[in-house]
């Protein structure tokens, strides 16, 4: 991206004395900050804590499933473990992870703005998230919730004896936090682009976040209201979903999945944006079919709203509605495939650099491919009867959400870590963590495809003896995966104190955040507004760095 601004500082880079990190010390300067980068760091810390909590629940689940007997936890406790794993991971990690951290940090810088459009609302979104998270933790400490993260009625609204109200309200608040983030992104991208930054010069990371924000804005209010209806029924006996009160339990599923299926795309689209940036950089090429990749993000966002019924093929939904949802679900594969093929085509004949982000890209492509293709199995109404509520489903969505989203999050974190922290991480350990995550992930979740196909249902703490060997493999894999996640946590923190200072543009990447903004960026990102004069990803011949 050519820049007609600022003194050249490409060679002999000297970082500015004052940057967003050291511009103000003390807790107050962080907790009352309006700087999008500091808010991103606040989110990063909070989200990492929730990831650890959710991971702890996952570890306890895998420990229980090591043996066929339900000997580690009582069945009620097990119900709470998988519920709280789901609630914490989805509402407090996966949904906000990339948008609230990398998105918050990078969206203004990538488009040449000084901050997001509404800095106070940005800070408010973090506080709302923290209040929601705190309520969630209180609900967990008070005994947990056992409804499954889906809060299906009438169990949640009538029969469950666990802390449904407080945890559902926590999810409600987390939803508002993401509405505020999405609103901020949409307004910022529309109104604060630098001169010359036309829509088709935007980095694909921005297109992905724009599409994500649309889903956040249009979908999240529906889940918020749905949870409120469920809470009203539970607390005051209003008849929305309970048939005895004139309600309909399937209506809850319609309303719930109207948001919660698009929420999958809230989780995966930002990760796709991260991939586009990293693949262009490591291939030293413009993303193949830029416009198609950009519009496929929007297509995924829109089509994603028309497929929710595929979660309800066996919930008494009519066969005809099921057929429509099935066909549209198959259609969603098209924009996803466009992205995957275009990324592969970008790498074709590229000058590929084998660094840590590259390792994560390769892992992502493999895992997302498996996750996406098994999604086609499940779109098929007939096959879904066999696979519904089995471990096949569990494996499929973990391949998308963990294999796809978390690989993107970690890859992006490594890619932009020098920019965020001003420090370099140990490259060898970075590659090792990517390999560990990839191997551990496959060892954990691939056996679950087989288990599900053989008929092992999800959400039970005991199972027939013949399933044990695959469950032992899965639990073993989870240990490797945990190590793969722990490792970056350790060396990234280490790098803050002991890592070498990062140059302005360690990867020789294109984009305002690399070519113009300092490392780490200053509080207002740019000394003066940059002017963009060329398209994104105009990589030239490979240079030595």
């Amino acid at each position: 991206m050519a820049i007609a601004e600022q003194d050249g500082n490409a060679s002999g880079y000297a970082a500015p004395e004052t940057n967003y990190i050291n511009n103000g010390y003390g807790l107050k300067s962080w907790l009352l900050t309006k700087d999008h980068k500091r808010i991103a760091v606040l989110y990063m810390i909070s989200i990492s804590i929730f990831f650890a909590v959710g991971g702890l629940f996952a570890g306890l689940i895998r420990l229980e499933l090591l043996t066929p007997q339900g000997d580690f936890s009582h069945s009620d406790t097990y119900n709470k473990l998988f519920t709280m794993h789901g609630v914490v991971m989805i509402f407090f990690f996966l949904v906000p992870s990339i948008p609230a951290t990398l998105g918050n940090f990078l969206v203004p810088i990538m488009i040449g703005a000084k901050d997001l459009a509404f800095p106070r609302i940005n800070l408010l979104s973090w506080y709302v998230y923290i209040i929601g998270g705190t309520l969630g933790v209180i609900g967990i400490l008070a005994g947990g919730v056992d409804t499954g993260w889906t809060f299906y009625t009438p169990y949640s609204s009538t029969y469950s004896n666990s802390n449904v109200l407080i945890v559902a309200f926590a999810g409600f608040l987390a939803g508002f936090s993401s509405i505020l983030t999405g609103l901020n992104f949409i307004v910022t991208i529309h109104t604060m682009r630098a001169p010359g930054m036309t829509w088709f010069r935007l980095p694909l990371f921005i297109w992905a976040h724009y599409a994500t924000s649309i889903i956040m804005l249009l979908g999240t209010p529906v889940i918020a209201i749905t949870l409120v209806l469920m809470m009203l029924e539970r607390a005051f006996g209003f008849g929305f979903f309970d048939p005895r009160l004139g309600g309909d339990p399937v209506l809850f599923q319609h309303l719930f999945w109207f948001y919660s299926h698009p929420a999958v795309y809230i989780m995966i689209l930002p990760s796709m944006g991260v991939m586009s940036e990293m693949i262009a950089c490591i291939s030293r090429k413009r993303v193949f079919g830029y416009e198609f990749v950009a519009f496929s993000s929007v297509a995924i966002a829109i089509l994603g709203f028309l497929v929710w019924g595929h979660h309800m093929f066996l919930s008494s939904q009519s066969t005809y509605a099921g057929m429509v949802f099935s066909v549209i679900t198959f259609l969603v594969a098209v924009p996803s495939a466009i992205k995957t093929f275009n990324w592969t085509a970008t790498m074709y004949k590229g000058s590929i650099v084998y660094n840590t982000p590259m390792y994560y890209v390769m892992g992502y492509l493999g895992l997302f491919l498996v996750g996406g293709l098994t999604g086609l199995f499940l779109s098929n109404m007939g096959l879904d009867i066999h696979l519904h509520d089995t471990y096949f489903i569990v494996a499929h969505f973990h391949y998308i959400m963990v294999g796809g989203q978390v690989m993107g999050y970690l890859g992006g974190m490594h890619f932009w870590w020098p920019k965020i922290s001003g420090k370099m991480y140990p490259e060898a350990l970075g590659k090792a963590s990517a390999v560990l995550v990839f191997l551990g992930f496959n060892l954990t979740f691939f056996p679950q495809f087989v288990l599900g196909y053989m008929g092992m249902p999800r959400r039970y703490h005991s199972y027939p003896d013949e399933f044990q060997i695959l469950n032992v493999a899965s639990t073993g894999g989870a240990s490797v995966l945990a190590l793969g996640y722990l490792l970056p946590g350790i060396y990234l923190i280490w790098s803050i104190f002991k890592g070498a200072n990062a140059p302005q543009n360690p990867w020789g990447a294109k984009g305002l955040e690399w070519e113009v903004a300092d490392t780490p960026p200053t509080t207002f990102n740019f000394e003066s507004t940059p002017v963009v004069t060329e398209e994104a990803y105009q990589y030239g011949p490979i240079e030595e760095h």
Binding site: I186, V187, H190, T191, I214, L217, L218, G219, V222, V250, L251, H254, L255, F258, F305, L306, W308, G309, M312, S316, Q317, S318, T319, Y320, A321, V324, F325
Partner: protein, 107 residues
């Protein structure tokens, strides 16, 4: 997305407030009338009218840019999608006979 300068006057606000009050009274009155199957329809029409007035005037949509209109329209479009697909399920449950027709038979 700068708002246009012709923002609503105090008179407009008072007129809208009065309209909302009248419509509220109408809702209460309609609730006590035996309108048969049209009772729900009448209540919904009044409620939608009130919501429209609030969105157009109190939320300043009338005085905002076309881009903002687009986003407001998108919200309604997606709400229509929610209603249409959900109702398509309920409406077509009886088409294949048992067992899903059971739902309709108990209505």
């Amino acid at each position: 997305m700068a708002e246009h300068h012709n923002s609503p006057t105090v008179g407009t606000y008072l007129a809208v407030f009065s309209a909302l009050m009248v419509l509220t009274a109408l809702t209460v009155w309609a609730a006590f009338q035996d309108l048969g199957p049209y009772g729900d329809l009448v209540a919904m029409v009044i409620a939608c009218t009130k919501a429209t007035v609030v969105i157009v005037f109190f939320m300043h949509v009338k005085y905002s840019s076309r881009l903002l209109w687009l986003f407001v329209g998108a919200g309604f479009l997606f709400m229509l999608i929610l209603f249409a697909f959900t109702m398509a399920d309920y409406a077509s449950r009886g088409w294949l006979g048992a067992p899903s027709s059971y739902y309709l038979s108990i209505q």
